[in-house]
Chain length 216, copies 2
Amino acid sequence: MIINSVNTLFDQALTKTSLSEKQKKVLKASLLLFSKNGFDRTSTKEIAEKAQVSEGTVYKQFKTKEGILAAILKPFVKSVIPSAAAEFITALSQANYPLLEEFLTQVVQNRMEFAIENKLQLKIFAQEVLHDKNLAYTLKHEIGGELVVKMGLALKYYQKQGQLVAWAPQRIAQYIISTVMGYLVPCILLDQPLDVPEASKEAVEFLIKGLKKNSE
Amino acid sequence: MIINSVNTLFDQALTKTSLSEKQKKVLKASLLLFSKNGFDRTSTKEIAEKAQVSEGTVYKQFKTKEGILAAILKPFVKSVIPSAAAEFITALSQANYPLLEEFLTQVVQNRMEFAIENKLQLKIFAQEVLHDKNLAYTLKHEIGGELVVKMGLALKYYQKQGQLVAWAPQRIAQYIISTVMGYLVPCILLDQPLDVPEASKEAVEFLIKGLKKNSE
DNA sequence: TATAAGTAAGTGAGCACTCACTTATTATTA
DNA sequence: TAATAATAAGTGAGTGCTCACTTACTTATA
């Protein structure tokens, strides 16, 4: 199998780097193999073959196999917080979304699209999180914590508006994330397509019901 | 570190087998090492050391390393469906067809306890699911499908009663599972304790709001 | 005494990684 | 501009090490 037009967002990110064509092929091949078979069940020989490159070339740029993994995951992880934060802010500040439902629809749909575009990286990240407690800790406290703070700003706005239950932002964020994950997990595990507009519509229907402030 | 009183339920299951003491120690050690470091990052030498047993002993009973994994996961996976199905039935019949909220509380609390008791196996299973698409397929269609059918019986009852929204049982089950998973994942990843009564109370509060039939 | 359980030193295969070398690209100078 | 030097990119046959698994043997049990 030849590697071409696999992961659009990933390809875009690659063009911005100063890597040679062969090195980019190494990263693409690694992304595919790691996500399919796992980091530990992928040999550097396999990577070289899939990238149509010698094994020495693999090691010219990336000093270790872990280095390849880092080169794949770092840009992804680093982009999660900024892109999500930006999404919350635009959704809010545009003031286009006076209703909680509109805000949620926009954010849920956008985050689902982001996840689908990065589903290979997400799968590799999940594999690593299950192997490395430090990474799990980072995910919860640094990434998760930061996201809750950013999202919390928006949530508090809707709580003041009386549209959203008065639960802790952390708790509300958890429900939003886990509900969205419910749609993403099968798609990531089985590499199936996801009807994002339909899924986000359904998810938001449930979330709104579960999170709206009951008029008393 | 010595292996003792680690996993109560696992220990109980072990006593029912015809394995020798040393073989049981092999399984216990493997359970701990696999869940902590992952299957691929655990060597049979490490297992033997942790079990205070020679490497040959490991291979007397379990012909391959995969065999050890199967001996750990099979009893767990096989018990998921029956124990859940039994729980749905007892939750319904014991309290003589309780309110949806009472049913959900009972089921959610019970399943959370089951998950916590088997969290090491669950973590190993998750690792494997991310590596093996066939296993992911089995999880979704055989295990998941079966559970939805069993749970669906109860859900349909509550739909007829007018207590539960008229969404597809598959969809409702997904929301229940993902909401519960939201509480379980951090605890499984970081090996932290979970206040099950509190967590299930919170989860049900949200689920009831999101899933109750709106009186029209 | 026969069968099972346990041992520890192998064994060969596969792995991540290296190194001496070749080829391509860029910089420098006549 | 052409020739050459200097640097970088790429190659593939190693290399040593770890790993899953075996085997010849010893000890315990029925």
